[in-house]
Amino acid sequence: MAVAEPGRAGRVDDEGITWQRPSSRLLRARRIEAGLVTGLVMLAAGLIGGLAGSAALGLGIALVLLGAGLVSERFLARRVAAWGYAERDEDLIVRRGVLIRRQSVIPYGRMQFIDVTAGPIERSLGLATLQMHTAAAASDARIPGLDKAQAAVLRDQLATLGEAQAAGL
């Protein structure tokens, strides 16, 4: 069961799973988020440092934070690239993480409901996050950075599959 409108170029891994990737705009969205957070923290910490100590101290703090923001940006690309999902006949696989790598298998029949959310930054880039919920609180199946139309298609597909294969608790 392939997605009607595949995301980014699927990549086949050594187990024969064709991974679908989030949109390339996800990296941009993450960069904007990181930039905003860094900017705000810089401003706040720099002001506090500047007012409480000297102007040089405030500037120094701000520069250190800017450096930290730039370093974290280096890791963003790898984190975004780690996301992937694959629709198989009976279940959905989602993988993520660089430092701690995770891979979840969720049978369609276990799906309780599906959320599609989009924050302001995601929305401005035409992205959405899709999340599936099962009866288990520990299940995590979140796919960020889907194209809005693609998210809607995927949601409907998953809902149909879930209904067809639904199983009791």
């Binding site: 995770r102 979840s104 298998v105 029949g109 099962t134 009866a135 520990a138 608790l169």
Partner: protein, 490 residues
């Protein structure tokens, strides 16, 4: 809507009538509901009285006002609450300003509990709780009914929830149509069940000892087969040997030492609530698990327990999400263990936070042989966690390595972990909600990975920890298909 068609006394004769009749709760219900408040206030007054003997009067008045408000609220709540069973659905209407009508499809019931607080037992009343799968609010409460009637209603609700085609798989096929068909087919079975139900059960409420009450109840329900009964002495000893018990002993010992050395008991006044809380926690555990009796009945596994407040639960077959065997360090020396089951739905005592990590204990404390026997009743097969973790796991988990292991067949997966407290979890594959493969940085260096099997609820996951990377891959590749086969087998 504030004047129900049923006369106020209708509750007593309720369950013999046609299902569609509206029933009331017992008129003494507000007293029971205020009872918990009453006990709390009594303790608070006592503490205040001991702590500062002069200023207690003012607080007492406030407490009495609180009690009065609670009572009046209870009476109003009783006046506007009514319930009926019709078409395979239990319906509870309540609320004065904000009317609330809740429907509980009986085919979706996970378990039904009959609970008696100490006060309720004196008055011969009992509360019924329906546990549905889902979050905290999805709990149906009927508090309170006369005890005999509560037992009958439980039997009846259970028999309706087991109606053919509905209960077997617990499928979400609770369509109104099939539900009403089930309700229609129920009356014959219901009638016979009522004949078999204990008529002499009501006076038990006045019997002080729960053990005798449970004995009588067990004797009257001839279809039951008793599987396990906890020994009171062993329970007390096991609690003393547990973390909570040891903590309580240390605190009490420290208090006694302080009093002995200083000779002034007054010093402790400010610590009294703290000490009381610890003692209460231990007492609550003892009270809750005292006299636990497990019996197999056609409608499921029956659990009865409690010293002052008694609880009777029925866990329907096929509703067990996971079974866990817990063996704390000290208990292992005595060959004791604890067996817990996980049933979907909220825990029955939400106010007890320390217990929320814990599941319903079917064996609060027992020998391994007893646990093994009950496991045989709960599971059709019992794989043992014999597949040890690879040697590399020693570096990642030097302590827990000793007990790390898993195994599985085509129905169950078992995984064990823990060093101080060994926990072995069995999960039926048909209940698994999702599979998670996780590899942390240390694990990657050592070529290891873990696989978690999540079941409904947030308390249990069978964690197959620290397997070789290839084996973990293989588990993740194989288990979903096995689980699918188990689900379709039903």
């Amino acid at each position: 809507m504030t004047s129900p068609p049923s006369p106020p006394g209708g509750g007593a004769a309720g369950s013999r009538d046609d299902g569609a009749v509206w029933h009331r709760l017992h008129p003494l219900s507000p007293v029971i509901r205020a009872g918990r408040q009453f006990v709390t206030i009594a303790i608070a007054v006592l503490v205040l009285f001991v702590a500062n003997q002069h200023h207690a009067d003012n607080d007492l008045v406030i407490d009495l006002i609180v009690l009065g408000v609670v009572l009046v609220g209870g009476v109003i709540s009783w006046l506007v609450t009514r319930w009926q069973v019709a078409g395979g659905v239990l319906r509870i209407d309540t609320g004065l300003l904000r009317r609330e009508s809740r429907r509980f499809p009986l085919s979706q019931v996970q378990a039904i509990d009959v609970i008696q607080t100490g006060l309720a037992r004196v008055l011969g009343l009992a509360e019924i709780r329906l546990r549905m799968a889902g979050a905290g609010a999805s709990e149906g409460r009927l508090a309170c009914l006369p005890r005999a009637e509560a037992e009958q209603l439980r039997e009846r609700l259970l028999s309706m929830s087991r109606a053919p085609g509905l209960a077997a798989a617990g499928t979400p096929a609770a369509r109104p149509g099939t539900g009403s068909a089930a309700g229609g087919s129920a009356p014959p079975g219901r009638a016979t069940r009522q004949d078999a139900a204990p008529q002499g059960a009501a006076p038990q409420g006045t019997a002080g000892q729960s053990a005798t009450g449970q004995q009588a109840g067990a004797g009257a329900q001839a279809s039951e087969r008793q599987l396990f009964r906890v020994r009171a002495g062993r329970l007390a000893a096991s609690i003393a040997a547990s973390r909570a018990g040891a903590f309580a002993a240390i605190v009490i010992g420290a208090m006694a030492a302080v009093v002995a050395t200083t000779g002034k008991p007054g010093i402790l006044a400010s610590f009294l609530p703290f000490g009381l809380g610890i003692v209460l926690a231990v007492w609550r555990q003892f009270n809750g698990e005292y006299g636990t009796v497990i019996a197999a009945a056609p409608d499921g596994l029956r659990l009865r327990s409690g010293l002052v407040e008694t609880t009777a639960e029925t866990i329907r077959p096929g509703r067990v999400q996971a079974v866990r065997l817990v063996q704390p360090l000290v208990w292992r020396a005595f060959g004791w263990c604890r067996l817990e089951v996980d049933v979907a739905g909220p825990r029955q005592r939400r106010e007890n936070k320390s217990e929320s990590q814990r599941l319903r204990a079917v064996i609060p404390v027992g020998s391994l042989a007893e646990a093994d026997q009950l496991l045989g009743e709960l599971l059709t097969a019992r794989p043992a966690p014999t597949r040890r973790a690879p040697a590399g796991a020693r570096w990642k988990a030097p302590l827990t390595y000793h007990f790390l292991g898993w195994d599985g067949d085509d129905r169950y997966v078992v995984a064990s972990r823990g060093r101080v407290c060994r926990k072995t979890t069995w999960v039926p594959l048909e209940k698994v909600q999702s599979f998670r493969w996780v590899q942390g940085p240390v694990q990657r260096r050592l070529g290891l990975a873990s696989v978690h099997l999540d079941v409904a609820g947030k308390r249990v996951a069978a964690s197959i920890e620290d397997r070789g990377a290839a084996e973990a891959r293989d588990i993740l590749g194989r288990l979903p298909a096995l689980a699918r086969a188990a689900r379709s087998r039903g």
